[in-house]
């Protein structure tokens, strides 16, 4: 957009200077497109149902009500209980923590082994694993229920963590493998010459260099696990049902009435945890990849 200007090629910083307005126009327009649904969600969440029924989705609430937010958090009925979505909050936390740490550790070891040690058949194994990323989870559910049931892990916290571990392994492995592939091989060779073993090199050399990619992986994994519904529903057992089950109970119904304002509030409330993590780790996220995750 700025190639016609004579200044363009003089400094990266100045290159787009004349086109800077264009850049801002594009970014602001995009931002408006991205924010429009959030605006509608927020506006809807503060309207009473009568106003929603009349139906202008773009209008601001005439009569602002906070009732939907209170209902969503602590009073909406989701069955015999009417406790809103908060009931599953700690369950979700209990699932997210191990389901983030373990897959990252395993993914890191896998990626390290594949990238540095290049075991025989490693590529075939990796290929098969990547195919796994394409199988819809629901298809794998039945056999996994059988397997977990037979080892007594079905419907338990360790069970759901194991399931998350299995389903996140392809992508986690991919992330770490690409990251480690970009680390200079000399470093690894030097460590081997010094007599380091598989885990010794991993712990002493590789792991300390992995902070950035770990942050990246953590963000993807936290979002994925936090928003997971179907796996938690089936595998976690009724004592450990995540927050999304409550969220779905609030939002989804076939023949019951729908409270759109409560639905919107509940959705926004549920997504606050991943949103906070994006916000806090935004810098890390970017620097993490910068340090070589996908640099090649």
């Amino acid at each position: 957009m700025s190639q016609a200007h004579p200044l363009q090629s003089h400094a990266r910083r100045r290159w787009l200077q004349p086109g800077k307005i264009g850049v801002y126009v594009f970014l602001v327009c995009s931002a408006l497109f991205f924010l429009a649904p959030l605006y509608i969600m927020l506006a809807t969440s503060f309207k009473p149902m009568e106003e929603i029924r009349l139906g202008n989705i773009f209008s601001l609430p005439v009569e602002v009500t906070f009732e939907p937010w209170r209902l969503a958090w602590s009073d909406a009925c989701t069955g015999v209980a009417c406790e809103g979505i908060r009931g599953g909050f700690w369950n979700s936390v209990m699932i997210v923590i191990p389901s983030t740490i373990l897959p990252i550790l395993v993914g890191a070891v896998n990626g390290y082994a594949l990238a540095m040690w290049r075991p025989r058949g490693g590529n075939i194994l990796f290929g098969a694993l990547m195919l796994g990323a394409f199988i819809p989870v629901q298809v794998m559910m039945f056999p996994l229920v059988r397997v977990l049931g037979s080892v007594g892990l079905f419907g338990s916290l360790p069970g759901i963590v194991l399931i998350h571990l299995i389903f996140s392994m392809p992508i986690m492995t991919l992330l770490f493998r690409n990251y480690y592939a970009s680390i200079p091989e000399e470093l690894f060779k030097a460590a081997r010459v010094d007599g380091g073993g598989f885990f010794r090199i991993f712990v002493a050399v590789i792991l300390p260099m992995s902070t950035p990619i770990i942050v990246v992986a953590a963000i993807m994994q936290v979002t994925g696990v936090w928003n997971d519904y179907i796996l938690g529903l089936v595998f976690a057992g009724r004592e450990n049902m995540p927050m999304t089950v409550q969220l779905n109970n609030v939002i989804n119904t076939t023949t019951g009435a729908r409270l759109y304002n409560v639905n919107m509030a509940a959705t926004i409330l549920t997504s606050l945890v991943p949103l906070t993590i994006y916000f806090l780790s935004g810098r890390w996220f970017v620097r993490g990849i910068t340090a070589g995750a996908v640099k090649g």
Binding site: Q8, N123, N178, T267, V286, I289, V294
Partner: protein, 278 residues
């Protein structure tokens, strides 16, 4: 990892294959009915349409998400003010459950309540934007909503890739007086190769698993116009209690993925080997 691959993925695939040649309904049974389920599958209008939809959707979605994500990343990389805010704005849809955002998209796109209605009220009575109720256009509305959800993540990955490019390259091209767009096209893009590959794999898995957005926005409608394979599989797996047909459909999907992915992986591993032996 080997154990996961063997037990988790290969085991499931074999199990699914076995069920797909049985007459299982709610529960798996051990009989053998040959390819009857596959015959029924490929005689089913809805399944054929959902394959077509997925191919069309996949190409447009991946292209659009990559282009928009890349553009956002490049523009945000121009040292703009408020970068942190913009990044969060583009990324937030990734954290939201589609159960509710799908409904919002349905409202926005519906001619009676959404954009069409709003523009008409502003004094353009002939304005028409009714893709979501249109048999031929509805699949594009799924593209719009899913691009909205995924573009931010893609932007973040590309942005990171861009930041990782050595500053020296910019200095060198500056001295040579090469225009910015040419630097992006002929130097930066190739250097982003691995990022593009990672993003491509991520988006491809999202395409194959496309489900939530369709269910929450159109329920596969109007009619069967926006049906996708995963929804067909899920309907038969649960609601219609025909796990044999669902398994047959899954096997077809898996074979399709293998047919597309295997040559790419093979080519890549050969390229790697050659690079390694040099």
């Amino acid at each position: 990892m080997a154990i996961t691959v063997i037990v988790g993925y290969l085991g499931t695939a074999i199990w699914t294959l076995k069920v797909s040649v049985s007459s299982s309904r709610t529960f798996p049974v051990d009989d053998f009915v040959g390819l009857a389920q596959y015959v029924r599958l490929f005689g089913n209008d809805r399944w054929l349409l959902s394959l077509e939809n997925l191919a069309l959707y996949g190409v447009i979605f991946i292209l659009a998400t990559m282009i928009i994500g890349l553009l956002l990343a490049i523009f945000i990389d121009q040292k703009v003010a408020g970068e942190g805010v913009l990044r969060t704005v583009f990324l937030y849809p990734y954290a939201m459950s589609f159960v509710a955002t799908g409904l919002v998209w349905q409202w926005v796109l519906n001619p009676g309540s959404g954009i069409q209605d709003a523009v008409r009220r502003m004094g353009f009575p002939d304005f028409t934007f009714d893709w979501i109720v249109n048999q031929d256009m509805v699949i594009y509305t799924i593209v719009i909503a899913t691009v909205w959800q995924a573009a931010g993540l893609v932007m973040a990955m590309f942005l990171a890739g861009l930041r990782g490019i050595d500053d020296d390259i910019w200095k060198a091209t500056r001295i040579d007086g090469i225009p910015a767009w040419r630097v992006y096209v002929s130097i930066v893009l190739p250097m982003l190769g691995p990022t593009i590959a990672t993003v491509f794999v991520l988006l491809s898995t999202a395409v194959i698993k496309l489900f939530d957005s369709v269910v929450s926005m159109t329920q596969g409608g109007p009619g069967t116009a926006s049906e996708v394979p995963t929804k067909f599989i899920m309907d038969h797996l649960f609601g219609r209690a025909n796990i044999a047909l669902a398994s047959a459909a899954s096997i077809v999907m898996l074979l399709t993925v293998i047919a597309i992915v295997a040559p790419i992986l093979y080519a890549r591993s050969r390229a790697l080997k050659r690079a390694g032996s040099q």
